[in-house]
């Protein structure tokens, strides 16, 4: 379904656009999206996985359709216009993914699926398009097949990922080439080749900066530095098809920053925990116990998430990582309690009014 055939999405997208414009180009406390980890099982063993999927963490848990429908209704009421369904690898169990898409009622959201592309063939692509998916993001680490496969822990994964993007494009959805950029590769030939490939194929490139979370916990050396950040902006201006959630998508000069999206894009785990984002493993609620509205309010009661940060807290702010993301054993399934890690003067008293 073309995005112009989703009036409700544009109604919410317009509200977001107008809010950002009035708020000096900053995201502020405007809700934007949901990142849902429907199920954490995966067929690959990626070195940088932030969900600990390669070690089999909670791979059997999955949110049921009725709960997903409830979350979607609440999200729509909050003005949330985009959903990213991710895992794990959701195409390991396509029936569950399709069930989830039906529960969401995709006509209300700019809908996307993030995948490693291994199981995404022509038939699956068509089915996703029929179910209202607008975009599919496929992660690729290198234009060197061997490098990608080594990083992903499975031979053949590069070829399938490359092919998957073609199936996405042929099915009429937007193909996004997802790349993870850290200090180790930010200014490398490899990244240039990926950007070039994406541009030539008329894809969009989504840049996620490497974060010291999950399998890379405590590896702060992988984080981009100021020179890398400046280089990424240079690439953004050059290619014009590169996005980061941190950047202002409406800026046609390709240089302005919206701010860190913590709480603006809440991350929901397969057991219903709500974290401030996929990479900052700090819990602000659970969808079985509280409403999304209150979870959002609670999240923004913390100074670090309420105040605008022009850096991605998890991938660019080394001070934040050192102070608040270094607790031993933290993961998406064992998230930190913000009241335990932030000083008392960093948050307002907040009481959830209703416990489900």
């Amino acid at each position: 379904m073309a995005i112009l055939n989703k009036p409700r999405v544009f109604e919410k997208f317009k509200q977001f656009h107008d809010y950002v414009k009035k708020n000096n180009g900053e995201i502020g406390t405007k809700q934007r999206g949901i990142d849902l980890n429907l199920n954490n099982a995966c067929n690959l063993r990626c070195k940088h996985c932030f969900t600990n999927s390669p070690i089999g963490d909670h791979v059997k848990d999955i949110l049921p359709p009725d709960k997903i429908a409830d979350i979607a209704n609440q999200a729509d009421e909050l003005g949330i216009f985009e959903w990213d369904l991710q895992g794990g690898e959701l195409l390991l169990r396509p029936d569950k993914l399709f069930e989830c898409l039906e529960a969401i009622k995709t006509e209300r959201f700019y809908m996307y699926v993030t995948t490693n592309g291994y199981y995404l063939d022509e038939k699956i692509a068509k089915k996703l398009a029929d179910l209202g998916v607008n975009r599919v993001s496929v992660s690729i680490d290198s234009m060197n097949e061997e490098e990608h496969d080594k990083f992903r822990g499975r031979k053949g994964s590069w070829k399938r990922a490359i092919k998957a993007l073609e199936h996405v494009q042929n099915a009429g959805m937007s193909p996004y080439l997802n790349i993870t950029v850290g200090h180790y590769n930010a200014q490398s030939e490899d990244i240039k080749q990926l950007l070039e490939y994406s541009k030539n194929k008329k894809y969009t490139t989504l840049v996620n900066v490497a974060t010291p979370a999950g399998m890379w916990a405590k590896m702060s050396e992988i984080m981009v530095d100021e020179k890398d950040k400046a280089y990424l902006i240079k690439m953004r201006k050059k290619y014009k098809n590169i996005l980061r959630n941190l950047w202002n998508p409406f800026d046609r000069d390709y240089e302005k920053v919206l701010g860190c999206n913590t709480v603006n894009r809440m991350y929901i785990t397969p057991i219903g925990d709500v974290l401030v984002c996929p990479y900052v493993h700090i819990k602000i609620g659970n969808v079985y116990k509280q409403s999304l509205k209150e979870i959002s309010e609670y999240g923004f009661s913390f100074k670090k998430f309420r105040e605008n940060s022009s850096s991605c807290l998890a991938g660019e702010d080394k001070d934040f990582v050192k102070k608040y993301m270094s607790k031993e054993g933290t993961s998406i399934f064992n998230p930190a309690d913000p009241k335990e890690i932030f000083p008392k003067d960093h948050f307002k008293e907040f009481k959830f009014s209703e416990q489900k």
Partner: protein, 79 residues
């Protein structure tokens, strides 16, 4: 700058295209720059240029350069 030029300029600046691209009635999604984000940016530019606020139905109907000309007439923008 007259309204027609303002209108053209919004497209040229939003999508970083040459004016000649507009001669063939440019349509939504026919160039990579006119995607959903580009669409919203274009609407924002037009609202600013003409001091109007467009309704959702019109944002959805705004599917081409020529269609946009028709829609703006509803907002009393004389082009």
């Amino acid at each position: 700058m007259d309204n027609k030029e303002k209108y053209k300029n919004a497209f040229i600046e939003t999508f970083s295209i040459e004016a000649s691209v507009l001669d063939k009635n440019l349509e939504y999604n026919t160039i990579p720059e006119w995607d959903s984000i580009g669409h919203m940016t274009l609407i924002g530019s037009l609202e600013e240029a003409f001091g109007i606020s467009m309704e959702t139905d019109d944002i959805i109907d705004f599917s081409s350069y020529n269609k946009g000309l028709e829609i703006l007439k509803k907002y009393k923008v004389d082009i």
